[in-house]
Amino acid sequence: MDRRQFLRKGAIYSGLGSLYASTLGRLPLFGANSSKNNLMPFDLVAVRGGRPVEMYRRAMAELGGMEEFVRPGQSVCVKPNASWDVPPERAANTNPGLVAAIVEDCLSAGASRVFVFDHTCDNWQRSYENSGIEQAVRGAGGQMLPANMERYYREVPVRGGRRLTSAKVYERLIESDVFINVPILKHHASTTVTIAMKNLMGVVWDRRFWHRNDLHQCIADFCLYRKPDLNIVDAYLVMTQNGPRGTSEADLSRMRSLLVSSDILAIDAASAMLLGHQPQDIGHLRIAAEMGIGNIHLDQLNIQRLSM
């Protein structure tokens, strides 16, 4: 093969490759993340005063609906917080009705499949069941998948990570087209708050490594692997103390709020303020801002604030 032949072949193959990527849009790195985020009317939508599902529908309407994030034929991974074996009224897990509404919307937007999972802290079957999330997801037509074994995870590099340079990530999440993160806002014993970034600890196998190797840094590092396409923060019932598991309903404050954003750092910064913290005071938010993971300066953002 001479040089000319080589260049010609190279050009043909790379052309075919990009054609494949753009038409099918199934390559996770290029496909879903290249959505119309830049064209979105708002960087962050915050709603207060309604029920969780009402507020969610209102916020999504402002952003143009789920169709802006999910295209027909795509597979969608929805990651709530379903980590604890406690009932929904204790608000340690994401509101099950909210998760169900998201699953329904993804399916009506034409998703080929919608699955939900969490690498739980308490026993997985009891947590799935008693959080009410498993039943809600099934009722909405989604799949609640097991994540209790190492075989469901695959090692991936975290490029640019300072402490976390690789992680075993839930394999079906790696293969999914769209990633929707649905944390619940809570106080957290060790990281002060747990919101969207902290919720991603539930998609990896070995959490102990994070705890052993500068927890805040690892939480920020992991965002370099893959940022969710959409973050929806449930702040209807908010655990203000004794988090993340809580000991009773006395730990809760009914804030009746909900936030939506594609910027994982912006939504964490805004949510942290709801709990009365300055974003810069939270280790992983400060580090994430340094690393350019998102925008921590809320005054630079176009925020839609709504009341119901």
Binding site: D85, N130, R212, L215, A250, R254, M255, R256, M273, L274
Partner: protein, 540 residues
């Protein structure tokens, strides 16, 4: 009803018991079979005795009384139908006979009743028990061993089949079967189980119910009673033609067709003889109606031997008790007692834990209650959803041989779960509602501050507090904006979530020290509901 139907009825009843009890062990919760299995477990002989003692008689004695009445009425039907180990042996016998020549398939009456062996084992078991050690009972009881086989052999096999099915279906995007995690059991426990299985299996394949009539303490105990049973098997003088067909199918080897005698103490009432007799030469009738029963001349010898050994041994009880009391003092987990100066290099997880008392399941009241009532059947081990209960070997010394404990390196006890208290057939773990269980302190949290990540590495961690259901471990400001655990031991239930979650290696910075006597834990206050705090304006 013709007597030859009895065999079919026996097979049916024994299969119901076997399947129902096996399914409880395997965690297969089918609608009708699951409650049936829980109920049938109450009829196991030695567990029912332990249960009666543990719960101070009353309704707890029901199972025991039923078994005794049944035996006094019908003989050792317990051994043929109720005992799952008996049915397991029958299966092995039947299977092994598929591979034998016709002639060697036959059983033969044996006059050697091995009474000395049988009753010595029974006497030794009872004596050790009275002296405070369940060593022999836990090693020899048929139900306990059926449990050991289930947990060490049948349960892993079930998990493997379940997971093969689950993973195959997953490829087709079907998630109807939930995968189960396989947890390794301690090697010594598996070795004992496999060894016992080999012994029982070999004996069953070789000579039917030989185990039941030589080693099994339950078989020997019931054999003593069976001699007095109301209904019993015997030969009709006229109808019997000495054909010997009954003798050839008698897996207890207790039918002497030549002398037309039945050794009642060994007969397990399998009723094979009735099904084999072409002439209706055997009866199963009220003792009185059938006149004086022919008994072997030395039938009382076994009983005398047993009583003699028992009496002799009673003298040694005080010594045994002393021994048991001495063991109680140092039920300390082995293997974690390395000397400090050898391992102390500084840094997270570098400080060995001096001594750590084992934690027994919630509802087990105290180490002494637990060790004196647990028969080591491992039903709690196999049904525990978090798999925190694991068999041990000598953790509780000789008197608590092979009894399980909670292992927080593997998992932790779910705050709201009471499964083990529901299944325990011996009363070693007493029944608890979730509300009661949340107020039991099985152990107390301890913290090695120098071993903690926060102190050693100066980074946040808090995994312990995160998992703590009562906030007995809470994170409080330390320095440089970091948070460090602070303990409120009165709130601790001893669930071990903190110890499990602690990421330090090789030693945990936070761990649970078992309580030898369980204490009440302080309740978590939860009278107020959530506060209403809808923001007037967003703070951003």
């Amino acid at each position: 009803m013709p007597l030859y139907h009895l065999r079919k009825i026996r097979i049916l009843v024994s299969l119901v018991f076997f399947v129902a009890i096996l399914f409880v062990f395997l965690g297969i919760a089918l609608p009708l079979i699951a409650p049936l299995g829980d109920g049938l477990l109450q009829l196991q002989l030695f567990p029912s005795v332990l249960r009666m003692l543990a719960l101070s008689f009353g309704t707890a004695a029901t199972g025991f009384v039923l078994v005794i009445l049944l035996t006094l009425l019908f003989g050792r039907v317990y051994c043929s139908s109720i005992c799952p180990m008996g049915t397991l042996q029958d299966m092995i016998t039947a299977l092994s006979r598929q591979f034998r020549k016709r002639k060697t398939q036959r059983f033969r009456y044996t006059s050697n009743r091995k009474n000395l062996l049988r009753y010595s084992i029974l006497a030794a078991t009872v004596l050790l028990w009275a002296g405070g050690s369940l060593f022999l009972l836990n090693l020899l009881d048929p139900y306990a061993n059926f449990g050991k086989f289930s947990v060490s052999l049948f349960h892993p096999a079930t998990i493997w089949i379940n997971n093969t099915l689950a993973f195959t279906l997953e490829r087709f995007d079907v998630f109807a079967v939930a995968p189960m995690s396989m947890h390794a059991l301690p090697l010594d426990v598996v070795a004992v189980s496999v060894g016992l299985f080999a012994v029982v299996g070999t004996m069953a394949a070789w000579r039917g119910r030989l185990f039941c009539n030589t080693i099994c303490p339950a078989g020997s105990a019931l054999g003593l009673l069976a001699g007095h049973s109301v209904y019993r098997i015997g030969f009709h003088e006229q109808a019997c033609t000495h054909c010997g067909k009954c003798e050839r199918v008698c897996k207890a080897e207790c039918l002497d067709s030549r002398a037309k005698k039945v050794d009642q103490s060994r007969c397990i009432n399998c009723f094979n003889c009735f099904a084999s007799c072409p002439n209706q030469g055997l009866y199963y009738e009220l003792r009185k109606k059938s006149g004086p029963v022919r008994q072997p001349a030395n039938s009382d010898k076994g009983k005398r031997q047993f009583l003699l050994t028992l009496a002799g041994g009673l003298a040694s009880i005080p010594m045994g008790l002393k021994f048991a009391a001495a063991r109680q003092g140092h039920a300390v987990l082995a293997g974690r007692q390395q000397r400090r100066h050898l391992h102390h290099r500084g840094g997270a997880g570098s400080i060995p834990i001096d001594s750590q008392l084992p934690v027994t399941p919630p509802g087990s009241l105290s180490h002494s209650h637990f060790t004196s009532h647990c028969i080591a059947c491992y039903l709690c081990v196999s049904t525990c959803p978090t798999k925190v209960i694991v068999p041990s070997f000598f953790t509780f010394g000789l008197e608590g041989f092979m009894q399980p404990r909670l292992d927080f390196h593997r998992s932790f006890c779910n705050y709201d779960c009471v499964r083990c208290t529901e299944v325990c057939p011996t009363g070693a773990i007493t029944h608890q509602t979730p509300g009661q269980k949340r107020l039991i302190q099985t152990g107390v949290v301890r913290f090695q501050v120098e071993s903690c990540i926060v102190v050693a590495d100066r980074t946040d961690c808090g995994a312990c507090s995160e998992h703590c259901p009562t906030k007995a471990v809470q994170m409080v400001p330390y320095r440089d904006g970091l948070f460090i655990p602070r303990l409120t031991p009165s709130l601790c239930v001893g669930c071990g979530a903190c110890e499990f979650a602690c990421p330090t290696e090789p030693y945990k910075a936070i761990y649970v020290n078992g309580r030898t006597v369980h204490q009440p834990a302080r309740p978590v206050e939860d009278d107020e509901g959530p506060r209403e705090e809808v923001p007037d304006e967003f703070p951003f």
